[in-house]
């Protein structure tokens, strides 16, 4: 999966936004801001008075749905929907254009089918007459789902058929097809297989990931004679999950941090503190990159945002070009399992475990991974640096004072959670608010104009992820409906004996999966099944989650699809093979770390048990 990062695309925004687009961005930003404001106000009111906002949690959850659909529409507008394929890069100009037409054409068809299925869901819900708060019916928000798919589909169609008449012809075709799926009985096997093959081809040439997953789910549902509206039930229950608003809020905090001057200040702190010591440059690199990844949830993006700052630092300290490249490429990895990283949040939501416990479980394993990276750096530091410059206490004091606000960010998130002052969502909102206030009002790193750019960007990324999440659960739901997990569990139980055997098999399967798919689709598609299997083998769900994530984060460093390899290749202008050679020794060392995490459960469970 390629993450929609503007730096990589290099074209955001490609053009000055038109008035209608500006309005769309403004609405998206407004809803996102409201999601942050309501929990903070609720928290303050609860702490100070007996009041509060009526229906605060339910409102924020449904605003999350709105951000998801609006963000998806903006992502479609900006050509930034998540795709799985890296194949189109090798195609020629003409072939690439054809591939684009085909890929988007498939997605248009899926959007039409989804919009019609979700409309049927909304009509059924409308009759039930549920209310969120203040008399606002639930179905108003639910109606955003089919509307969003219709808009996404229309925008993709406009790329397939730029001329208006052709576009309307496409629209009529798509509507006819959607109607056919709603009235069809059971889809015969051969037809289903043919359509699945067309879909698979689309996945190869760049059909957006959500359309591949939803299309697959739709085919399975139709083949089994199940109502397609079931996809909508799962979409809805995923995006209004009570813990889910933490995702947009922490993402917002991460984006604001990355766009501000915080990276520069933090590197100055760690360089001033440790730069003169043996291994100091490594320590600074690993700590800053890990810290950043824990907020953005994407260690690839960390390579982009920080690579240009930490690479010169390492080279200045006498590191060889290759170990430095390896280190920079992998330095953010421990942040993937360090709170409040997005993968931890997602896994907690998908597996139904407490967010706080998941945070605690990831803490020590994350430290282990960081220690491995630092040891690697120490080994490659030239010995002549050993007795280099004495620590400069004055510079260190100045740097610390200069970055005090930024250094306090993790404390804000942590204290709010651990003190029992805030729910996980409120803590996320508080962190986002704090980061925003520091970046704009206190530091003045970011102007209002910057926010006008950053907020929709963040909404777009969240929308892209929630869209995939929503439909991925539909696929899982088919598996549940067919009672396949039960069958897989009993098959695995008959094949693999014992907990150790199961964990070993899990390591191997996840390592293979990590070569092909990225951590987010893996969590959404594989985690529900792995959770069931883990329960059957008596593996603690928290430990299982950490093993799963640690294993999948290795995938950032492996071909075929390895985000950090791609990002580093782009950032340092080196072929992917060369980056892989540079990172290989680290990959092996981190792999050993994953084995330790797998077979030493107490590393994951000690902290949650201690707090218990």
């Amino acid at each position: 999966m390629t993450l929609p990062t503007p730096v990589l695309e290099g074209l955001a925004p490609a053009h000055a936004p038109r008035p209608a687009e500006r309005l769309e961005n403004a609405v998206l930003s407004g809803v996102l801001a409201l999601m942050g404001v309501i929990p903070v106000v609720e928290l303050l009111l609860r702490a100070t008075t007996r009041g509060g906002i009526h229906g605060a949690a339910a409102i924020v959850q449904h605003l999350g749905l709105a951000v998801g659909m609006l963000g998806s529409a903006v992502a479609a507008r900006e050509h930034r929907l998540l795709t799985m394929s890296a194949l189109t890069g090798v195609l020629g100009e003409r072939a690439r254009r054809l591939a684009g037409l085909y890929a988007n054409g498939i997605a248009v068809v899926v959007c039409a089918v989804l919009a019609s299925a979700e409309t049927r869901f909304v009509l059924a819900e409308r009759g039930a007459g549920e209310v969120i708060a203040y008399g606002i019916p639930v179905w108003w928000f639910e109606a955003l789902m089919p509307a969003g798919f219709a808009l996404v589909g229309w925008r993709l169609l406009s790329r397939v058929a730029p001329a208006l008449p052709a576009r309307f012809a496409g629209l009529v075709g798509a509507l006819a097809l959607a109607f056919a799926t709603s009235s069809a009985a059971t889809l015969p096997g051969p037809v289903a297989w043919l359509l699945a093959a067309l879909l698979a081809l689309g996945a190869l040439v760049g059909t957006p990931l959500f359309a591949v997953l939803a299309g697959t789910a739709a085919l399975l549902f139709l083949h089994a004679g199940l109502p397609l509206a079931a996809i909508a039930v799962d979409h809805y229950r995923t995006v209004v999950n009570a813990s889910l608003p933490a995702i947009p809020l922490y993402t917002l905090a991460g984006y604001v941090l990355a766009e501000s001057a915080a990276p520069k200040r933090l590197i100055e702190v760690f360089d001033a503190l440790f730069g003169g010591l043996r291994g100091g440059a490594t320590l600074a690199t690993v700590l800053v990159c890990t810290f950043f990844t824990s907020f953005t949830g994407a260690s690839g993006a960390t390579v982009l945002a920080l690579g240009g700052l930490v690479m010169p630092l390492l080279l200045a300290h006498g590191y060889g070009a290759r170990p430095a490249l390896g280190l920079v490429t992998a330095a953010g990895l421990p942040g993937t399992i360090l709170m409040p990283a997005l993968p931890l949040l997602l896994y907690a939501i998908v597996a139904g475990v407490g967010i706080k416990q998941m945070f605690l479980a990831g803490l020590l394993p994350s430290c282990l991974m960081a220690a491995i990276l630092i040891l690697f750096g120490l080994r490659h530091e030239p010995p002549r640096r050993a007795a280099a410059a004495r620590p400069d206490a004055k510079r260190a004091r100045r740097a610390l004072a200069g970055a005090a606000w930024e250094l306090a960010v993790p404390a804000v998130a942590l204290v709010a959670l651990a003190s029992g002052l805030a729910t996980p969502v409120e803590s996320a909102a508080l962190t986002a608010a704090y980061v925003l206030i520091v970046a704009t009002l206190i530091r003045r790193d970011l102007s209002a104009r910057d926010l006008v750019r950053i907020l929709p960007e963040c909404g777009l990324v969240v929308g892209g992820i929630l869209l995939v999440m929503g439909v991925a659960l539909g696929l899982t739901d088919y598996l549940v409906d067919a009672q396949l997990p039960d069958q897989v569990v009993s098959w695995v139980q008959g094949t693999v004996t014992g907990r150790v055997g199961f964990l070993l098999a899990l390591n191997v399967v996840l390592l293979a999966a990590g070569c092909l798919i990225e951590i987010y689709p893996a969590i959404l598609v594989l985690a529900p099944l792995v959770t069931q299997l883990g329960a059957a083998y008596g593996v603690d769900p928290l430990h299982l989650g950490v093993v799963f994530l640690a294993n999948m984060e290795l995938g950032y460093l492996t071909p075929l699809v390895g985000l950090n390899l791609f990002f580093a290749s782009y950032r340092f202008d080196k072929p992917i093979a060369e980056i892989f050679r540079a990172v290989l020794p680290l990959f092996v060392a981190l792999g050993a770390g994953v084995l330790v995490i797998t077979y030493l459960p107490s590393l994951s469970l000690a902290l949650p048990r201690l707090v218990h």
Binding site: G52, A56, F121, G352, G354, L421
Partner: protein
């Protein structure tokens, strides 16, 4: 046969509830014969009760074992049987109210496209807290868990001067551990299974509210079955009824005993403290009447219980 029943429940695989559903499924298959299928989804694999109701609305599922949490999304009048705290002191009182109200509720359900069989209670919710609490006022100082699926409840507790914190079920135990919440209404069985009592080690021995539920079929699924099958389903359900009720009472008592053994401290309110709970309902009821349940049903339930107590004053009993 055109009978394909897909039935969901939150109950765990292998539990008594699952076994009862399997018996009903066997009755359907025996009566409908070759080709009839019954699939049972346990452990909430189809989602929470609200999700299950949504799936029945669109026809993905056509039967479910639901508590009032899910049933009231279809038919609000059943709310009194679970969502009216401190209304019932015994299962006899539940019987009185359900005998009077359920015939109409079943008619309403039928009009909305659902058939209910086998209504039953499934134990009592009690308050668990981190510090001893004998009266409602004792719970006021700390923060109280309210389930995220119940926004009305949040509002009501706020109006009464409590500090509700809205959480997903998965965050309840961590919330108790960090002190985000100090108390939560739980069934003893759930508390035992999740070890909630290790961080909320006080339980006040007041029956806050019963868990009450039924097995429901969509009308489409029900009409596809023959009259004989209807009779077979009702017979299998009726046979399970006493077993379910006896189990609920026993399981509650056993769970409390097991927790007491590992350190749960049970607060038995004095007569005066019990009056404080009764007074609490005087503040609470005006807020829920007409809001979380229809006013007419609310009044009816209250009238029935009061009349029953006037008739049999000793019936504050133990059953």
């Amino acid at each position: 046969s055109t009978v394909h029943v897909k039935l969901a429940t939150l109950a765990p695989k292998g539990s008594l509830y699952h076994r009862v559903l399997q018996q009903i499924g066997a009755a359907i298959q025996k009566s409908e014969g070759e080709g009839a299928t019954v699939q049972i989804y346990t452990d909430g694999s189809q989602g929470g009760e609200a999700d299950v109701v949504r799936r029945m609305r669109i026809g993905q599922l056509n039967a479910a074992m639901l508590s009032v949490v899910g049933l009231s999304e279809i038919e609000p009048t059943v709310s009194v049987l679970q969502k009216m705290p401190l209304l019932f002191r015994s299962t006899d009182e539940i019987d009185e109210v359900s005998k009077a109200l359920l015939p109409q509720a079943e008619k309403n359900l039928l009009a909305k496209g659902y058939i209910a069989v086998q209504w039953s209670d499934a134990g009592w919710v009690r308050f668990f807290s981190k510090t001893p609490a004998a009266t409602p006022a004792d719970l006021k100082a700390g923060h109280m868990f309210v389930w995220s699926g119940d926004p009305d409840q949040v509002e009501i507790m706020k109006q009464l001067g409590y500090h509700p914190v809205v959480l997903e079920t998965a965050d309840l135990i961590p919330g108790l551990q960090t002190g985000l919440i100090d108390s939560a209404p739980l069934t003893p069985m759930w508390a035992l299974a999740t070890q909630a009592d290790s961080s909320a080690s006080y339980m006040v021995d007041v029956r806050w509210a019963p868990i009450f539920g039924a097995i429901v079929f969509t009308r489409a699924a029900w009409d596809a079955m023959s009259e004989a099958t209807h009779a077979a389903v009702r017979a299998a359900a009726a046979q399970a009824g006493p077993e379910l009720r006896a189990y609920a009472a026993r399981a509650d008592a056993e769970a409390i005993a097991a927790m007491e053994k590992r350190g749960l401290k049970i607060t038995h309110p004095s007569a005066a403290q019990l009056r404080a709970w009764a007074d609490f309902t005087q503040q609470l009821y005006p807020l829920i009447r007409g809001r979380t349940m229809p006013a007419a049903t609310f009044d009816e339930a209250l009238r029935i219980v009061n009349e029953y107590r006037a008739r049999a004053p000793a019936a504050g009993g133990t059953r």
